[in-house]
Point group: C4
Chain length 331, copies 4
Amino acid sequence: MIKNQFYLQLRSRVYDIIENESYQTHFSKMFDKFLILLILLNVSAVIAESVDAWYFPNQHLFEAFEYFSIIVFSIEYLLRVWVIVERDKEEHPEIPHWKRRLLWIKSPGAIIDLVSIAPAFLNYFVTVDLRFLRVLRLFRLLKLTRYFAAMRILLVVLNKEKESFKAVVFILIIMIVTASSGIYVVENQAQPEVFESIPKSMWWAVVTLTTVGYGDVIPVTSVGKFLGAMITILGVGLAALPAGILASGLASELEQRREILEQRFRELLLDDEDMNLIRDRYKIDKIRRELGLNKEQAEEVIVQLLREKEYEQRLAEIDKKNYCPHCGEHL
Amino acid sequence: MIKNQFYLQLRSRVYDIIENESYQTHFSKMFDKFLILLILLNVSAVIAESVDAWYFPNQHLFEAFEYFSIIVFSIEYLLRVWVIVERDKEEHPEIPHWKRRLLWIKSPGAIIDLVSIAPAFLNYFVTVDLRFLRVLRLFRLLKLTRYFAAMRILLVVLNKEKESFKAVVFILIIMIVTASSGIYVVENQAQPEVFESIPKSMWWAVVTLTTVGYGDVIPVTSVGKFLGAMITILGVGLAALPAGILASGLASELEQRREILEQRFRELLLDDEDMNLIRDRYKIDKIRRELGLNKEQAEEVIVQLLREKEYEQRLAEIDKKNYCPHCGEHL
Amino acid sequence: MIKNQFYLQLRSRVYDIIENESYQTHFSKMFDKFLILLILLNVSAVIAESVDAWYFPNQHLFEAFEYFSIIVFSIEYLLRVWVIVERDKEEHPEIPHWKRRLLWIKSPGAIIDLVSIAPAFLNYFVTVDLRFLRVLRLFRLLKLTRYFAAMRILLVVLNKEKESFKAVVFILIIMIVTASSGIYVVENQAQPEVFESIPKSMWWAVVTLTTVGYGDVIPVTSVGKFLGAMITILGVGLAALPAGILASGLASELEQRREILEQRFRELLLDDEDMNLIRDRYKIDKIRRELGLNKEQAEEVIVQLLREKEYEQRLAEIDKKNYCPHCGEHL
Amino acid sequence: MIKNQFYLQLRSRVYDIIENESYQTHFSKMFDKFLILLILLNVSAVIAESVDAWYFPNQHLFEAFEYFSIIVFSIEYLLRVWVIVERDKEEHPEIPHWKRRLLWIKSPGAIIDLVSIAPAFLNYFVTVDLRFLRVLRLFRLLKLTRYFAAMRILLVVLNKEKESFKAVVFILIIMIVTASSGIYVVENQAQPEVFESIPKSMWWAVVTLTTVGYGDVIPVTSVGKFLGAMITILGVGLAALPAGILASGLASELEQRREILEQRFRELLLDDEDMNLIRDRYKIDKIRRELGLNKEQAEEVIVQLLREKEYEQRLAEIDKKNYCPHCGEHL
């Protein structure tokens, strides 16, 4: 019984350290920083291994580091599987443990964690091309996603604007197909080897429409140059369109969240006449974190809100003065 | 009489399947997917045919596929002409059938459909260059426009911002003409063949101003390089301007539509105290589809609206408490 | 006396045709179109003259066309000077004629008109390099500015955002100076001819930071490539910044104008219970044109406004029902 | 005593001239312009010195100018340290002089000032590579930051959007690492020297993803070209993303400030029935300058505000008419 008690306490403590974002102690921060450093070192190692002059003299070191990393990441994965049952324990006590674990294992974050360690174990069962296997370890870079709050907002925006992106991709495909077909018809005679077929002409289309312009494939005939110029002018904006949509979407998402924050704070103000920035810090922080906004943005909204409230009170006072206090009529 | 009844029912059913967007059954979705697949295969075929190594061994296969496609697209076109009289039948019963059909035939979508099959029939009457004719089949790609909701919003934005685009095209023409004339005057002596005339210099101007920069034509004199650098710095933003305008326009169009949606939902709330997300699903969906917004966006607006309503009610209650219920005076 | 009357009437009529934008008859439109066509033909002529194969056989034709254009543009300029006194005659009758004319002559539009014809006359007094003189005629392209409404909004935005642009230009200069100095220090030894001095290295900096990337000057040392990559990553967004600022500024300017339009329409609604789209067309059009918005945008605002008004009326009715009609208390 | 009085007066006067932005006399403007000119001449000198043909014949001139600049900038720095105690003297009289000076010395602006002169003195103690030392003088360009108001707004936006930028840099690093690793695996066999290792492949990745596209390193295999095209299409928008975020952020920051300005002006209107643009010029200017907006923007807000106020008054009058003045009931 006492042993069980200890087991539950330990699990809860470990959960707080490695998964609970609201729990921010010195040790949990150190744990996060250690993992971030290990991931960065892993990626550096993969890059460094590709340089023969660095790899061959230090082969044993690289291998030892890889074994160490695999062990750490495996322990991390198993710990997360173990403690994840603590999440939302109070809110949803009815969900059984195995279901919580399965839900987590199927989440994108957990899949990234698994794929980060899987190739290393794969090596024991099947023989895979070593260079390809090494590069697969770069997948560990994605483990960093966990530590970027803004990435989540960006993903939300990407998801919200996905229809716009589909439309842009559709237009881009039309442009590439049209451009490569057009240049193929026009330049095929003059340069039969580079514009041999439409798929080969697509290299020119992609390189031109994205404005990379290596210069290895260029139209040489007058008609080809004219067509190329037209295509470039029309298509050039297109490549910049997704970035524009994403940037606008991000701005409007942040604007929307700021408005929701304002609305929530207004509600707080109803319960609590003068919202106290210090006393209500916990409530404010909870709302703010839910919306993924940072402290400066929240403070800005609060300051503005209190100022508006003061203005409205002054306005109400002036308004009251203008009415007869006995009959309520306007003077 | 019974036969006629059956004919009308059949036409109505076919209309629902191939044209009515509100009618979403398993079969109508399958029909759409089949057509999308056929279009994609057609485009792939055109691209593949240009590769000699793929075309010559499978010539008969490509031809058979083309015949099959032509037949399917022709039947699709005729069916659409036939059933289009069902559209808005209740709202405008006074418009005669031939007028409805003519209106549809003149619509951009129908013209795309016609041009997609026309070249194949053209072949029987006049002899056209085969390669050019093949590439014309790529026009079928535009048939996909029908299945992209976001494309329509993009076209609306393009239409709304058309004056800005005209201004940008005007500035772009000024830039290209000025840049090519300037570089022609300055570099003509040093490189008489590439900067032989203004039209020839325009190739450099377009390649530079769109930031493609192939590197085949480059100013070599100091004055030319200075002028080229100035032109590039000034003009470089210009190429990205249309994309920026389109992205901003898209963001503000979506914002505007979200506001209209909010207004419509507010109106719904007037008729119906607590808008029920499940019961009123049909009304909500109709408004949402009219505005071309997706389900997530509509839900977001509704949740926000209900929250605001609750807040206003709480505010009204607090307000009521502050007034004497007998004399109406402020306490 | 009668002669004077006729003179005044003629001047007023000519003013309406060539300057008054509110006055839109078939003839005034034809006049505008003729001038636009002449400007475009002039620019085409300048471009065509640079091609020896086109110029020498048709030299007389080109010269005749140039004489004709000079005469037309000169008459146009003189006419504008003559009739400009009619502008705002009612609003400001106190300004003397010579002052009105001087004001117009000093306006940017008038200066463009003058510079378009000046070089041709200059030719009679001093001997200038012919090729340079010809290219100067391209200035006539700017005469088209008069016919683009969106250009004026763009110029307003440019003016409003001028401080942002100054900051961007300042950063750009810092970037170019820093990049060229850095690459000069690093690559000077390896490539003493292309990175001979900082001014020479600036060519590389401009070509790289604007993402043109001709490929004629490239860092070859490892340190140079690393520095080049860093500079490119940091600087690449910068080149797109002015376009982004302009696009955002344009969007917010249009948004602001739409809001002012709404406010003005609301004021119209106060005077006139149900704003009649047909009866009040003139007033609406005047406001709309003042704000430089097109008809679709104005109509959208009106439709939205009427809908909101209807909603408010329904809300007011519901509100009234909730109060006792005798004591005014809330039920 | 009198001497001390004079000393304090002098310090206050010097403070007004070189640090106080609200104090704008002819002399203080001249002082600013002289410093701006000196900075620009310094930067030009550094650039010019790198050209051997300009430097060697005028070596003494360049050196004399450098000595002169060092003396002026040193005096400027010492003067600023001396007079900075005058800042916020009334608001915070309790802070001792040494603390004020230390605070200023640690501010970014003061550090720039110090670094601008430090290398020249460094030369006396240690022997540094002369060319590197010269280039360090370019740091003086940053001294100009003091004179660009828009730069401060841009820095505020950069700071506010820093989380978005971190996310973009993170994605960019993922893209570069992934792209270079992918192309290394695919092209290593075909081009063993250019794609020798992942770090070497990164040069291609950076040059391609930023759309610079020099053309010195290009994939040659079909698989490499396909991968390259995919990477380019996916990544191309990314490079433009920071500019988009910055532009959107700038627009929304300006919008927010305009709203705050409106709110502050509304508060002014409460104290003072009809805000007088001429009489209240000082108050308006103070608020405006605090928010970093220019005069046009402030005027626009005021005009709009007064118009709205007038509208509300008219609305209130109409509203009053519709109610019985005796019983308060709606007529």
